[in-house]
């Protein structure tokens, strides 16, 4: 190799040296397709949507005023729209909370090894395949006025009149539990399996009863996982759409934000207003998520002694 060639090699190498130190080299090309995808299908449309929210339609401007902010004025001033925030919260928060809390004892019970555990787990996971639409259809038939559930209740004499279980708040809540619980259960069991059982044995040798072991060992170790589970199930419940329409009371107690957004988008073709509601949906949801994350940051998150 000639001196000149070595010299030129040297200079490129030094640039490479500097880039290498910062972790930049040719393998970063592997990221390009995913980045192009994210920019084209997520970042660009999202920014476009945010831009749209500042271009209110004429009707909105005339009715609510506020110039470029007319969409936001409409969102906060129009009770028909703004109430949907509370309606959504009233559904999503209790549903997520219930799903997480109910998952803890079930996961604790199913943590033990017994035959048929796999079958049990599979049955609990089954609703994931149902999807919201079949769940809605099933609820309408099973829990409707003439469905088996009401028939059984009346046959056992528990009630005289059929109980209204669908086309209202209860129907949507049931649907959220059926679709959300399995998900919460899967997450909680996986967090639980990450806690080394010998920790509980250790607590036992130190004289802790089952409740003390759960309260002082398992629960604190599980808490960050519960927070994550809550966030993910809340996200699922928050964007409830088909069930609110199909088994809920779409113009009343289950008039959730996604329905309002879709009404503006599909029925009124008011894309700016639809984008505004959609964006506010994201804001509200991420606010709850941020709160839970802030709480979670206060918890112990180190090793739990197991594989987790």
């Amino acid at each position: 190799m000639t001196t000149a060639a070595t010299g030129s090699r040297g200079s490129t190498a030094s640039l490479r040296h500097r880039l290498a130190e910062r972790g930049i080299d040719s393998s970063l090309w592997l990221m390009v397709p995913a980045l192009v995808f994210a920019l084209a299908l997520f970042v660009y449309p999202f920014s476009y949507g945010i831009g749209l929210t500042f271009q209110p339609g004429l009707a909105t401007q005339e009715k609510w005023g506020g110039g470029v902010l007319a969409n936001y004025v409409a969102f906060f001033r129009d009770p028909f729209v703004f109430d949907s925030v509370w309606i959504t919260m009233r559904l999503a928060l209790p549903a997520a909370l219930f799903n997480v809390l109910a998952s803890i004892p079930v996961a604790l019970v199913l943590r033990r090894r017994f035959r048929g555990k796999r079958l049990m787990t599979s049955i609990l996971v089954l609703p994931i395949t149902l999807g919201t639409v079949l769940t809605a259809q099933g609820l309408l038939i099973f829990a409707g006025r003439q469905g088996w559930l009401n028939r059984a209740l009346m046959a056992t004499g528990l009630v005289d009149q059929p109980v209204q279980l669908v086309n209202n708040y209860v129907g949507v809540m049931l649907s959220l539990i059926i679709t959300g619980f399995p998900f919460a259960f899967l997450l909680v069991s996986s967090y639980l399996s990450g806690i080394d059982p010998s920790l509980e044995s250790a607590a036992r040798t130190l004289g802790a009863g089952w409740w003390q072991r759960f309260r002082r060992i398992t629960l604190p170790l599980l808490a960050p996982g519960l927070a994550t589970t809550f966030i993910l199930t809340f996200v699922l419940a928050f964007s409830v759409f088909p069930s609110a329409r199909l088994v809920g009371d779409a113009m009343g107690s289950t008039r959730v934000m996604s329905l309002m957004a879709f009404r503006a988008f599909g029925e009124q073709n008011d894309y700016p207003m639809a984008s505004t509601i959609a964006l506010m949906m994201g804001v509200v949801e991420l606010a709850v998520v941020a709160l839970v994350l802030a709480w979670r940051a206060l918890l112990y998150k180190g090793s739990t002694g197991g594989k987790g």
Partner: protein, 379 residues
């Protein structure tokens, strides 16, 4: 044996360094490896020895310096084209390929004809005595067998240089001794040139022709095993070479000749300074190996007037001798080996010849920053 090592005359590392962000994992490594040498890079975890090996392998791009093979720059050559072989701590066998396919992988990558691939694969497997396991998957082998496969996979390519990254640290004690002999045997019989990374000084001393001791990314000393064992260049290397008693002291007086009087708590020892003679009143480290200390029997005079008195606190049985911990009056713990077991609570007087009591400056070489110095003193 048909497998031989690829050849070169010299491999030169010039000022090789690697930083991660602002942190220097390795800095200013200068080393010339000659053909057929067995070099061990020795140091505690985080000292930069694995970084050095990965830089040599090309798995980690350098941020400083260059590597020359017979005067030709190789640090810009990707690792797959350098023609080095490597054995990993975790064996890193391909879990989905059989032993034979693992060994043959590199030969396939070179596009060699099938007949040659199977011939050389069989030879390499025979070399590590695994012929009857050739069809098994790595998961079905014991740790020692897996490491043999890893070695076969590295040497089958007839590499000009074999790099070994703590290859024995995942094995149990007995197997480790057997594999150590095995590695040395292969190194000699195949005429390999080997760079071997370890944190185990015994392993390094027994295997290597030359040792490179690293600390915090910097070379502390390069030398043959006996050079390092008898003449460590600073207290850190001494610590690594089995000088278990490293005590802080203050120079009391420079005596005539080689000697030096150093105050240690209540007593004063005559010692041998290493490197520059420290001045009176300077803070130093005194290093003594447990086997250089001896118990003074009643009526005997301590050697060179060096006497350390203390109470026995721990006695461990180590086969032919006893490892005893003695607590001196000021609380300092001294490690000593004795052929007879004292009882806990006995008072003993220990002695060592001035020749074997080494005195080092408290600061370590290569520590430019005040922070590092402070750490060293704290340590």
């Amino acid at each position: 044996m048909a497998i031989t090592a690829g050849t070169f005359d010299s491999l030169e590392l010039r000022g090789v360094g690697r930083s991660f962000g602002g942190h220097q994992a390795l800095a200013g490594l200068d080393l010339t490896v000659r053909k057929g040498e067995f070099i061990a890079l020795l140091g505690p975890s985080g000292c930069g020895k694995s970084t050095a090996l990965n830089c040599l392998a090309g798995l980690l791009p350098l941020t400083h310096g260059e590597i020359l093979l017979d005067g030709r720059r190789v640090d810009t050559v990707p690792s797959e084209k350098r023609g080095f072989g490597m054995v990993f701590q975790s064996y890193a066998l391909f879990p989905h390929l059989s032993v034979a396919k693992n060994v043959a992988f590199g030969l396939h990558m070179r596009g060699l004809p099938k007949a040659e691939v199977s011939r050389r694969t069989a030879e390499a497997i025979e070399l590590v005595k695994l012929t009857e396991h050739a069809a098994k998957l790595p998961g079905q082998l014991s740790g020692g067998q897996q490491q043999r496969v890893a070695i076969a996979r590295a040497v089958v390519l007839e590499p000009s240089l074999v790099l070994m990254d703590e290859p024995l640290s995942n094995l149990d004690a007995k197997l480790r001794l057997d594999m150590r002999t095995e590695i040395r045997r292969l190194h000699q019989s195949l005429g390999l040139t080997t760079v071997y990374v370890t944190h185990d000084q015994e392993e390094a001393l027994s295997l290597a022709d030359r040792l490179v001791v690293l600390r915090e990314g910097r070379v502390q000393q390069v030398g043959t095993p006996d050079e390092l064992y008898d003449h460590p260049s600073n207290w850190h290397v001494a610590d690594f070479m089995g000088y278990r008693n490293i005590l802080p002291g203050t120079v009391v007086a420079t005596t005539g000749g080689d000697g030096l009087r150093v105050g240690l708590g209540a007593t004063t020892l005559t010692c041998r300074p290493v490197g520059d003679r420290p001045a009176d009143g300077e803070t130093v480290r005194v290093a003594v190996r447990p086997d250089d200390l001896a118990v003074v029997a009643g009526g005997e005079a301590p050697r060179d007037g060096n006497a350390l008195e203390g109470t026995v606190v721990v006695v461990e049985y180590h086969g032919r001798e006893f490892a005893v911990v003695v607590q001196a009056g000021d609380g300092t713990l001294l490690h000593v080996r004795t052929p007879e077991a004292p009882r806990v609570g006995d008072t003993l007087t220990l002695t060592a010849p001035a020749e074997r009591v080494l005195v080092f400056p408290a600061a370590l070489a290569g520590e430019a920053t005040a922070g590092a110095e402070a750490r060293a003193v704290a340590a």
